[in-house]
Symmetry: C3
Subunit: 353 residues, 3 copies
């Protein structure tokens, strides 16, 4: 099992999922209640009533203005987690308060901070395309019955597109083309690039861009451990000029594929996925196609990773896996996660002293 | 997990459930076979054949007169648990006998004694309304996927009616009105009373009694640890005289709500529920309404307690719950259950010496 | 739980199940991939890719000629388990090879050898009727949610036919008639015989043979521990002469009932069953009847053994079962299995040194 990394921001939900209905999510094993106050601010607090632990996200718990009323005995909490009403008495115990979580909205996600200290100036990594007028976005979330490390492995090594996602986003060139990998240990970012100069155009891109011939296809991954994965995808007909020195690249199509990888329990993970494009911005047919096609791709991963988790669960002790060049990025990600987890654990111990 | 209390009577079934079909129930982790002999007596014995442990309550096991024939190899037992026939030989091993359980019928329930000694003169607590011509009864049983202690907590603190059962039996006054609690440590009975002088009449009572205005509503709980819970409910239009000194109370409506709380395994419980009324005795419409309405209420509890059990199962170590005045009865019940469990364990150890 | 016996042949599949589709079976806890090479030979190898452990029997893994292509990243293996292709590079790591299993086809089964040494000259026990022009066969396989030892117990003691399979293959005489048991410790074979001179004819045989009166019914069991069970069943109208000295027996009906008992995991078992007859060879109606009837009988066992396993799983420590004469064969089988398991474990230790 991949260790949890504490003292980090995690995607808890899409902004559009957090509203005036109570929403429960479990992040790094911590049950969290999410809702939006009347002034629009997202609120995150422990999803267990202080009294008898009833989950506040479960019906008939409900919102009363900005306050949460427990559906079991009516304990009522403000957005600061402080209990303001209990049944049958006026006096409210001093200790009747729920832990709250640092929470913020950024790039269409609601992020929560899971940690033993405050985030201070630390902000989540960015995915600005998800909330930009220059891009059109389709997105979703699939729960995974697997260790989040399996999803990190999966996304850091896209050679699997050729096999697991053939006929959707995979072509032979993806598996055949070598990668380059860079690791920034200081910021905890892993970069994996694969530039295909002359490749078949898979249906995902052919159908959405209208390209009929062969393409130049660039895959540039940035994995911001532990939670955010970005795939900068550049697609252009063979012969299209490279981007100019100022970064402009008017003749290519750009797709930003974003994953929020949020560990829920030791063997379950929230797989937030989004596809942002800088073309056909108003074309609903393209949006519908990309949503449907990417959902199918994500479900191919979900099915495969759930199978893999079951295989691991029944594996004999002492199994050795074998890694090759394509795993350079994934192995770097594991090292960073292990280091961050150890640092988080040290902080937790220090905080407990 | 709430410890099991041995050397006690438990409700294993309703009398009407025990007949000429074999019935299997697991009480305090012990698998028990129940049926009724031809002369009408209920019989209770271990639900595992001595030979290869096949459950005698499972088909194709069957009754042959008063004898039970195992559906696997035909080992046959009398009502005293003694094996009277085995396949392929005349000689029956001396040790071929099943443990039997003390069993009796009382107040519409079949009770079994789970213990390491005989019950002697000890009888189960009474719920005479369930078997009285002066009352009409509706009843049922719901299996709960939760520790029985969660059901005891639930029933000892009726403030939850306002929140979990609003629109059925709950009104604001239940949660608002303080309780009085008395504990008889000697007999192991907890009394919790809540007398509402002027309260809204919830649909459960409005529909069944025909009362249209506000009511005086008395809730008098008697919990006979570990197994029997009685709620004496008195409903009358505001202004109705109190009961007279001789106990007569002709102008009020009386409902006796009875629960048999039977631990099955560590995290499953039989929730026997019955509603006895002293009005509209022959009115089938009222019976149908109360059965349906109370079943809905019981299922609201079942769903909530199952959710709660799951929350507890994944809870981090060291969680502290917070109790207030309304929990006085529940906390007393826990203390009594802990004491009785310890006494039962001591007896078991003494018996083993 | 019954210990696994290593260094033995096991039925992994019927020959007709192993073809040009990838088939996954778990034998003694080992995940095995089965398929048939283009020249018809069955192939068996570890069902986990060396790279990231993806099960090669799971889609979209596929065959490419005689090679298996992993559906996750395209690692490709020959029939000898050696990896011949990996994505993104020409060099194939020397250790990229899967364990293969000795495999052979015999008597309509595909057998695999599970062990720490090679089988050498050891061959699986025989069931020639399953692949003989003189017999017509119906067969199937049912997965069992139970320890394989429970199936061995079940099949070694046919007195249960009277109770569990009454109306199908059981009549009172089966349970009433004593057995004779012989054990060949050297070869690990248990023989149990029950010869009924004058018995009712159960529907299984009445319907298939056309006999309308009482029968002589011989049940001669040969259990070749751990995996193969044979029941030689001889049915003839009362008064039919016994088989002659040269073995010919033209006036009787013969049914060979064969079970492959293959432990999958500690609590799951493959129950391969086949019924071969030497009469009505071309009669499709008889084949359909026997297939349907025996499937029903097998499912009666499956349901009962699954129930039994659940009963054992929740049993208190210290339970003592009681055995009688009919269990002589089953107890002998357990002794042999325990001895073989211990020998297999010793060999495994020796191999590890």
């Amino acid at each position: 099992m991949t260790a949890f990394v504490r003292n980090q921001w995690y995607v808890a939900a899409y902004a559009h999922e957090v509203g005036r209905e109570l929403l429960g999510r479990t992040v790094l094993g911590e049950p969290i209640l999410l809702y939006r106050a009347e002034d629009g601010r997202p609120v995150a607090m422990a999803d267990r009533c202080v009294h008898r632990r009833f989950p506040l996200s479960e019906k008939p718990s409900r919102l009363d203005g900005d306050r949460v009323v427990c559906g079991y005995h009516g304990f009522t909490y403000g957005t600061d987690g402080v209990c303001v009403s209990v049944p049958g008495q006026q006096r409210i115990p001093r200790t009747a308060r729920l832990a709250t979580y640092p929470v913020l909205e950024q790039d269409s996600f609601v992020w929560v901070w899971i940690g033993d200290r405050e985030p201070g100036d630390t902000l989540p990594p960015r995915a600005p395309w998800l909330d930009s007028p220059e891009y059109t976005v389709v997105c979703g979330m699939e729960p995974l019955e697997a260790d989040y490390g399996l999803l990190v492995d999966n996304l850091l090594d896209l050679s699997h597109e050729t096999y697991l996602h053939g006929g959707y986003i995979g072509t032979p060139e993806v598996a055949e083309t070598p990668i380059t990998t860079e690791v920034d240990d200081k910021t905890g970012v892993v970069y994996v690039s694969r530039h295909m100069a002359d490749a078949a155009c898979p249906p995902f891109y052919a159908e959405s861009t209208g390209i009929t011939g062969r393409i130049t296809r660039w895959q540039d991954i940035e994995y911001h451990a532990p939670c955010l994965y970005l795939l900068h995808s550049r697609i252009a007909p063979v012969g299209t000029p490279d981007p100019s020195a100022d970064g402009s690249d008017p003749d290519a199509f750009h797709v930003e594929v974003v994953y929020g990888i949020t560990p829920s329990t030791e063997k379950t993970t929230y797989d937030f996925w989004a596809v942002a494009r800088d073309f056909a911005l108003e074309d609903q047919r393209v949006s519908d196609f990309l949503r449907e096609n990417n959902h199918t791709v994500v479900m191919q991963d979900v099915v495969a990773l759930n199978v893999l988790q079951k295989a691991l669960d029944t594996e004999k002790a002492g199994y050795q896996e074998l890694s090759i060049n394509i795993d350079t990025g994934g192995l770097a990600a594991r090292r960073i996660l292990a280091r961050l987890a150890a640092e988080g654990a040290e902080r937790a111990e220090a905080a407990a002293r």
